[in-house]
Symmetry: C2
Subunit: 336 residues, 2 copies
């Protein structure tokens, strides 16, 4: 048996059906399925169907509410509080979007704090959506402990991604979404599944020693990218997505989680900025386009996110291949 | 002749006298001298007296106004625009401080865009000042091209630091200030001066090949920390401190600069957040203190910025040693 070929619509429908068979209402299932489809469309299998068994597990264990109704309120003139109501993040992000766009346009800069939510996807989706509204966006989230602080051999930080988006006229926004871990956990999971080694510096085994074996790293601990600087950024993400907004730090999320294999409860902070409010309302986009042009004139350079857009252009026609074992696992979960 | 020993007050007075002898009015000279003193106090010689000849050069060349009167205005309900009036950054930052604190407290989040200013110091000073007001702060600035994009061998990005501060009750704020370059340029300058090698990965020589010779890197190009991820963050800093606020990207700053050895004209973006506006007004500080306690319980870990505070506790009594050649150079500049 080889991999199973699916169109992107089949990915979405499979995810939705599987979530609904396990206690998600259609509103939440649709939001999560759209997120899974977008990950697969962009070639980010680590955030795609691979996560579906985890989503299902956290519905079955009763940890996550499949019928969550996120609520958006304003906690200060430029700050939104998004109460996820114990559900998955995609619906909370969707509910928040228009309010954050409007508030940012009126205030120049605004923040949204997502709490009581279960995040199991990439950050670029919301950051890109905000950039398509003509806004800059920065998003961070913490998660379960996976990454050792500098000098330590046990996990304390989450993989703590930082995502950034910049709007471009007539072009896809420039968007990056980078784990402050040396490698995203989803990528290590895929390397382990496919029997590939990972580069040195990605992590340590359970014995605290360096290894290039992804399975041993998943049992051990990941390392931050770029040494103490990456670790400092991981620390910043903890403070923004946990301490600032009153949500769990990664170490707390790890302690509180029921270890069902799904996401832990956590927070997300999004900061959005409207370039029109910063002084150069007419010229800012052309100015930045000249900058991108200059950057792309360097041999060997490309803009962050370009590969995802290339995948996105290709996958609607080509579809994707799902490993047979994953597909079989998902099909069995669909039976509820 | 050995190094010249100075107290911190002597550092400040020397800097001030030297700046005033070269066209700085006393308001600007005081602000810059205070910044130089603080760098030396914190053990950051790369941002201390070492920069004084550059400050003086840019006064002598007429590039920087020694009599600048920065003005603060509001460009949106949560955005300040700080016009540096062609002067050094320290006075603009000082003028901005109270307004940014007040705006952040009223809005929950606020930003300040510094333009038409010449930045030649570290970012932690302002970030720490905001954290001492009980606010979180993030600051970024771009500068002259010094760092190659991933895959390239020519400079395009500045060293583009990111600074972050978090307020702590009864403790110094947690503050980091990290160049997205693998090593801060000031540190490479000191290594070159003192004849030390730098680690691999810090930069390339003018021939585009890796080297550990700091002088060759200063003639060649620095590299971002952490590979493509550090480069993505350097790109973000360009867009925040240049594109967003209508100031020069590093490559433009490099082209426009008169190469007098002083700072290039550039921008800085500061984002400040008031934790009281984010939902957990009572508990956020205790929550974060437990997090810091947990982190410090890991063997081998310490908080970013701790070394600076240790230096700061020691230098008022001990004073600092200034290399004899630098001291002689400064003394000759004082004659105007």
């Amino acid at each position: 048996m080889g991999p199973v070929h699916l169109t992107l619509d089949e990915v979405r429908d499979l995810a939705r059906r599987c979530l609904e068979a396990n206690g998600c209402d259609s509103t939440n299932a649709r939001a999560v399925a759209a997120t899974i489809k977008r990950a697969e469309a962009d070639g980010s299998a680590g955030h795609g169907l691979l996560r579906l068994p985890g989503y299902v597990a956290s519905l079955r264990s009763g940890k996550v509410r499949g019928d969550a109704r996120p609520r958006v309120s304003q906690s200060a003139p430029s700050v939104l509080r998004v109460d996820g109501h114990g559900g998955f993040a995609p619906l909370a992000l969707k509910r928040m979007h228009d309010d954050l766009v409007a508030l940012t346009r009126s205030q120049g800069i605004a923040a949204a704090a997502l709490v009581d939510t279960y995040h199991f996807a990439a950050l670029w989706i919301e950051v890109e959506a905000l950039a398509r509204e003509g806004l800059l966006a920065i998003a961070v989230t913490a998660s379960k402990p996976a990454v050792a602080p500098t000098g330590a051999t046990r996990a304390f930080y989450g993989t703590n991604p930082i995502a950034f988006g910049w709007p471009r006229p007539g072009e896809d926004p420039m968007v990056f979404d980078l784990a402050t871990a040396a490698m995203a956990r989803g990528e290590i999971m895929i390397a382990a599944r496919d029997g590939h080694e990972v580069p040195e510096g990605v992590g340590l085994g359970a014995d605290g020693r360096p290894t290039t074996n992804p399975a041993r790293i998943l049992d051990g601990v990941q390392l931050p990218f770029g040494g103490y600087k990456g670790a400092a950024l991981a620390l910043m993400v903890e403070l923004l997505a946990g301490g600032l907004i009153g949500e769990a730090f990664s170490y707390e999320a790890g302690t509180n989680d029921n270890k069902d294999g799904g996401p832990a409860r956590g927070g997300e902070l999004i900061i959005a900025l409207d370039p029109a409010a910063f002084g150069d309302a007419e010229g800012w986009q052309g100015h930045a386009e000249r900058f991108f042009g200059e950057l792309e004139s360097f041999e060997g350079t490309r803009l962050p996110g370009d590969r995802r857009y290339e995948n996105r252009a290709r996958t609607p026609e080509e579809g994707i291949d799902v490993p047979e074992t994953l597909h079989r696992q998902i099909m069995s979960l669909c039976d509820g």
